[in-house]
Amino acid sequence: MNPTRADDVFDPRPDPALDDALIRALPPPALPAGFHVRLQAAMAAEAAHDLACQRRQLEEEHARRMAALERGYVRLKRDTLATVLAVAFTAGAVVQWGVPWLHATLGVDLSELVPLLALAVGVVVGAGVWVDRFGLPRVLRR
């Protein structure tokens, strides 16, 4: 097909009679009644659907995060409990067997020193956790 050649032979009104007949035979069809109303309704439905989708996605994301948070919280509680139990039993074992053994072997009475040492360790560890969470007390900040 050669558009240029076709352009040369094209006459907008090569046959007025045929042209008139085609104008009458092919009138522009009108839009179906209610076309714009249905279009608006479809747009509104789509917007509502989009909102519903967004809400569902946000709810799913929220539920996922809450589940992750819950899992982390339970694990933290379990780890903390296990640590506390381990430390308590270790301390008990040390007092039960270590102190008499040291007293018998070295002649040193640690019955006063060990609780003080445990208290000091407890205070240092507790203060460390506190500072880690909330920062230094205001009086110590510069």
Binding site: P3, R24, L31, F35, L39
Partner: protein
């Protein structure tokens, strides 16, 4: 690329009247630039719904499906309007490309139409084809419409849209995504075919057409 994907720059025809079309839709583009997408779409829909519907009707030949395709095309345009860039082509060209793609998808999905000769209308059509020397309709206007319907698809689309769009070749070219010269060629050949077919039917006299 799926047929109903939003058109890209390379899909848009380089039309000599593109700048005129862009000027015509300048107000809509300005509204979009100002962030008034909803107002822009309302204006777009008011201006182009009839044209979009006529393009769908010409392509699908079924008023029900044409309305569905037109609604769907406008909805797709609504969704994609925020992403439209005027540098990619005139707004009308972009909208027509969406519409054409939607119609082509529907045509592709529907596949070849199976008809039964038990249907009376189909039987009448078949009788007409079997006896081409006899006019199928005494109504000249109906006969002319039937002859247009029987044209090859490209010519049928060009002729139909040319008369739907008040004989504006540039608009038909934009609607079909074709160069104007090609549309003129289809029009010329379509008219020649119609003339010949009318003569075959013994209706060479224009007085018999209307």
């Amino acid at each position: 690329m799926p047929l109903d994907a939003p058109p890209q720059l390379m899909d848009l025809p380089l039309n000599s009247d593109a700048s005129e079309a862009a000027r015509r839709d300048g107000d809509i583009v300005e509204l979009m630039a100002a962030g008034a997408t909803e107002a822009a779409f309302e204006r777009l829909a008011a201006r182009y719904s009839p044209k979009v519907y006529r393009l769908c009707l010409a392509m699908l030949r079924d008023p029900g499906r044409a309305e569905e395709a037109a609604q769907d095309s406008l909805l797709r345009a609504w969704r994609a309007l925020a992403g439209y860039r005027s540098a990619a082509g005139a707004l009308s060209t972009w909208l027509y490309a969406i519409t054409r793609n939607r119609c082509l998808t529907l045509i592709e999905r529907s596949g070849p139409t199976m008809v039964s000769l038990a249907d009376e209308a189909v039987q009448a059509e078949a009788d007409g084809i079997a006896a081409p020397d006899e006019p199928r309709s005494s109504d000249g206007r109906t006969l002319l419409s039937q002859l247009v319907e029987a044209l090859p698809n490209a010519q049928r689309l060009a002729v139909t849209l040319y008369y739907y769009e008040e004989r504006a070749v540039a608009e038909v070219a934009a609607m079909l995504g074709l160069p104007e010269a090609t549309v003129k060629t289809h029009l010329h050949r379509g008219r020649q075919a119609l003339r010949a077919r009318l003569a075959e039917q013994g209706l060479a006299d224009p007085a018999l057409w209307l």
